[in-house]
Every structure is written in C-alpha cells, then in structure tokens.
C-alpha cells in the first residue's frame, strides 16, 4: 500500500492513463492537473484550464488516449494530445444543470455524462460534421444522476441516481455500432430503454459498477449495498457510514469505500445467493503505546478534560472520506492493484496480493 498526498483540498475526481504512469485529477477547482510519475515523485506536467466551474468527472480512454472532462459549468470537453499539449474540444451537452459524472464506453466511440438536469447525455462523434453530438436519456429519471458504468458490450449503461434507484439503460446508437447480441439483461435494446430498475433502496445511489462479464451489477446506496446478479437481487445492510464508491475486483468480490475512510471487501456466494462482509482492507500500523507521565495526565485533564491517552486521529491510511476507486491492474476480473482518492487530497494504491497475505481471514474468491 502506498499513499501519496497530493494536496490539502479534496480530489474531486481522477483518471489514469493506459500504462498507469500518469494521473489526471481535479484539485477541487476549475482545472485538471496531470501528474507524471518520475522515479518516486509525482510531477505536475500539464494543467488543463478550460472549464468555468468545478470539474466533476474525468475519464481517460486508454486506447485512443483522449480525456473527457465534465463540470458544473454544464459543459464537457474532449481533450486530445497534440504534440506536447492537450487541446480541448467542446461538446454541447444540452443540459441546464451541472454535469456530475462521465465515462467512456469500452470501445471508446461514445461517452455518457450524468447530470443534475435529470438526464444522461450519450455523446458520439459525427464524422460528417466533425463534432460531438449527444442524445438524451430522460425517462424515467426523476433526479440527479450521480454515477455511471458501462457494460462490456458497449451498449448497456448502469446509472445510479438521487431518486433512490439504480437503472440499466440501453445506450445503443445506431450511427456508430451494430445491433448488440442479447444479454442477461434483455434482448431488445432500443435507445433509452430501461432494462432494469432497482427496488427497495431508500438512499441516494452513490456508486455503481458492472462486473467483468456484465452479468452482475452492484451499487452503493446511502443506506445499504445492494447487488444484482441476474436473476437474484440481494443486498447487504451496512453497519458503517455510507459507502460512496464500489468496484468489482473479481467476478465474486467487491471493494467499496466511503465515509469511513477505509476500503472494505464484500464477497458474493453464488450458491447461497448472499452477499457478505469480507473484511476491512486497511491494516493500521500499531502505534507504539507510550507510557503517560503524571504531568501528561494532568495536562490532558486540563486541556481536554479526559485522561485518555488515545489521540483523536484516524488510524486508516486516508484521513477523510474516500470518494473514488479505480482499478489499476488486472481489470475487473482479476484485479491486482486498485487506487483510491479521497477528500483528504491523497491517493493510495492498494495491492491485492499484499492485502491477502496481510489479513489472515481475507478470502478474495
């Protein structure tokens, strides 16, 4: 596990390039900073300034090396690397509220933007006019879309929203692709069709993730962590503070993190069709217990009205809520490393093998 503190402000969102040597992130303002790893240091190599509002989502397409960013200024920009600089192209999203999240599709020929205007903009490049065009998915979304994830077939899109539902939509654009084959979620997939809508959640859906095969979807809602594997839907009520982001690391295991500042493992048992808590993934270093001198005790009593020697310092790696998890190596099928960024301005890289050996009862199926 390595931890690097980039700044003092929260990291709003981040994205890695294909070979994981560069990270693009938004330091809670209008810009996007790109850092490159040189040796053991991270050096800022580019600053992308085009947005007029806070950048809320960044995604970096690995194959085509394009970055898409979206912000509270209701715009999205597609950045391409020309020589040594990133050049933006404005995408007209036709939304009248802030954009909240953005994701490239697996084939990178389209991207989806979730916004506060209660709709999802699916954008694709129109060759004839040489610009990005968008189509809207509006019904039956009733509130802000907070998170998105694409299915591996490039057509289905899972969206978590503030109207307490997680839905799977079809984002099939006939101009850029052929008709998709039938999937576990249905066979007729016209644009905007709702393939699945969740029930039983009562909180905002903060994070959503498809599994590697696309047959399972998991979403982190404010009160519980539900999980849908066709056909069964199960959920796990959490005993911790709400989880903000979730990702599959194998077909049966999920890692989620949130306001509790440490990532947590969940394991799905397909025989019992039940989701269970796998373990906390943060092993705090055992802080040395120093003996308290009498003077220190009096000082504590005077200052804090307590003789407790425990300091009110979080023992986890992140000192504030974790807002985003991304997979570094191995894909969603057999993830070897994942990265978390949070509101403490720091980024931590977690190695799955080290975690497995460090925690005796941890089983990543």
């Amino acid at each position: 596990m390595s931890y690097h503190s980039f700044l003092l402000e929260p990291i709003s969102c981040h994205a890695w390039n294909k070979d994981r040597t560069q990270i693009a992130m938004c330091p809670n303002n209008h810009e996007v900073h790109i850092y490159k790893k040189e040796g053991s240091n991270w050096n800022k190599i580019h600053v992308l300034k085009e947005h007029n509002g806070q950048v809320t989502g960044i995604d970096w397409a690995p194959e085509s090396n394009r970055i898409v960013t979206c912000g509270t200024d209701r715009n999205a920009y597609v950045w391409t690397l020309k020589g040594d600089a990133w050049k933006p192209t404005l995408v007209i999203l036709r939304i009248n509220r802030a954009a909240r999240c953005v994701k490239w599709s697996p084939k990178e020929n389209k991207f989806a933007v979730g916004s506060g205007s209660r709709l999802i903009s699916v954008c694709y490049f129109e060759q004839d006019n040489d610009w990005w065009v968008c189509k809207h998915i509006k019904k039956p979304i009733r509130s802000t879309i907070l998170c998105l994830d694409w299915h591996p077939n490039n057509v289905l899109l899972a969206a978590g929203s503030c109207d307490f539902k997680c839905r799977i939509f079809s984002a099939y654009i006939k101009e850029v692709e052929e008709k998709p084959a039938p999937t576990a979620w249905g066979s007729k997939m016209p644009f905007g069709e709702v393939m699945f809508e969740s029930t039983g959640t009562a909180g905002w859906v903060h994070g959503v993730c498809f599994s590697d095969s696309g047959n399972r979807v998991a979403w982190a809602s404010h009160d519980i962590l539900p999980f849908k594997s066709d056909p069964a839907q199960t959920f796990l009520t959490s005993e911790t503070l709400p989880l903000l982001c979730v990702t599959f690391i194998t077909e049966n295991s999920l890692v989620a993190a949130g306001h509790d500042c440490y990532p947590v493992l969940f394991v799905y048992d397909s025989n019992k069709a039940a989701l269970s808590f796998g373990g906390k993934l943060d092993v705090p270093k055992q802080s040395a217990q120093k003996g308290m001198t009498a003077r220190e005790r009096f000082q504590n009593l005077d200052k804090k009205a307590t003789t407790d020697s425990k300091e009110a310092v979080l023992e986890s790696l992140h000192k504030n809520s974790i807002s985003q998890i991304s997979i570094l190596n191995g894909g969603k099928a057999r993830c070897a490393k994942f990265c978390t960024t949070g509101m403490d301005g720091g980024m931590a890289i977690w190695d799955v093998k080290t975690l497995e050996s460090a925690m005796k009862d941890l089983k990543i199926v």
């Binding site: 009562a202 909180g203 404010h222 009160d223 519980i224 009520t237 911790t240 503070l241």
Partner: protein
C-alpha cells in the same frame, strides 16, 4: 397595488402542486398497517411480560400510513413499552431482534427524541446505546434516509 400584498392568503392555487417536475414518492402497494394493538400491549405490561409486549409493540409499524393519528398512537404505545422496561433487561431485548427490528426500534427511538417528556429522553438514550451497539452507524443512517418513517 392590492392593499394586501403582505399576505398571500388570498391566493387560491398552490402552484407547486402543478409543477410537472415535482418529485412524488412512489405509491407503495403494501397494505397500510395500523400499528400495534394498544390494549394487548397494555395487558401484557400489567402482567409483567415485557418481552412479548416489546415484540408486539414492534409489529405492524404504520410505515405506509398517511394518517398522522395512527402514527402518533403507535409511537405512544411503543414509548410506553420502552419506559416500562428495567435497565438491565434492555440489552437482551435488543439482542432478540433481527436486523429489520433493530432498524425499526431506532426509528421509534428517534421519533421519541423529537418530543421529549419528563423522563423519556434518559430512557431513550439507554435504548439508543444498546441499539447502536447492535445496529452500528448503518442503522442510524437508515433512520435518516428512510422515506417512510414511523
């Protein structure tokens, strides 16, 4: 200018009701439960059978009901049972509940906090401590995010 520009009572139409983007909760088809039976619970308290009274009080929560009187009645019944418990019996009672039961108990506890009476807060705090030990922070978050409350 109209003389009564300060008061809006002359307005007959509530335009917020007609806003097409207004969020309305989905109508749940689940039956409207009427809340626990007050007489039954009273009898059990008088007989001293606290555990059964407790379980009956937590049955049929008026979650889907739109009638505030029903909810008020349910709240009074549950509060009476909670106050009738001895401090040492609280922990086993909480342990006998399942996950949903603990969440429901938390909802009643917080509802009870809203209208404190002479001794209720102290007793509710004891219940809260024990329920929190079992339910954790998640049960409190579920009270806060619940759209359908008791």
């Amino acid at each position: 200018m109209a003389k009564n520009t300060l008061s809006s009572r002359f307005r007959g139409v509530d335009i917020d009701e007609y806003d097409e983007n207004k969020f309305v909760d989905e109508q749940d088809e689940a039956a409207e439960l009427q809340g626990p039976d007050a007489c039954e619970v009273d009898d059990l308290i008088r007989q001293g059978d606290m555990m059964t009274a407790f379980h009956i009080a937590l049955r049929n929560p008026p979650i889907n009901s739109k009638n505030p009187a029903v909810k008020e009645r349910a709240q009074t019944v549950v509060l009476r049972v909670l106050t009738a418990f001895k401090s040492s019996d609280i922990e086993p009672a909480v342990k006998s509940l399942d996950r949903n039961g603990v969440d429901l108990l938390m909802k009643y506890i917080y509802r009870g906090f809203e209208k404190p009476s002479d001794n209720s807060s102290a007793i509710l705090l004891q219940w809260h401590e024990k329920a929190f030990a079992v339910g954790g922070l998640g049960s409190i978050v579920r009270v806060l995010t619940a759209r359908k409350s008791v």
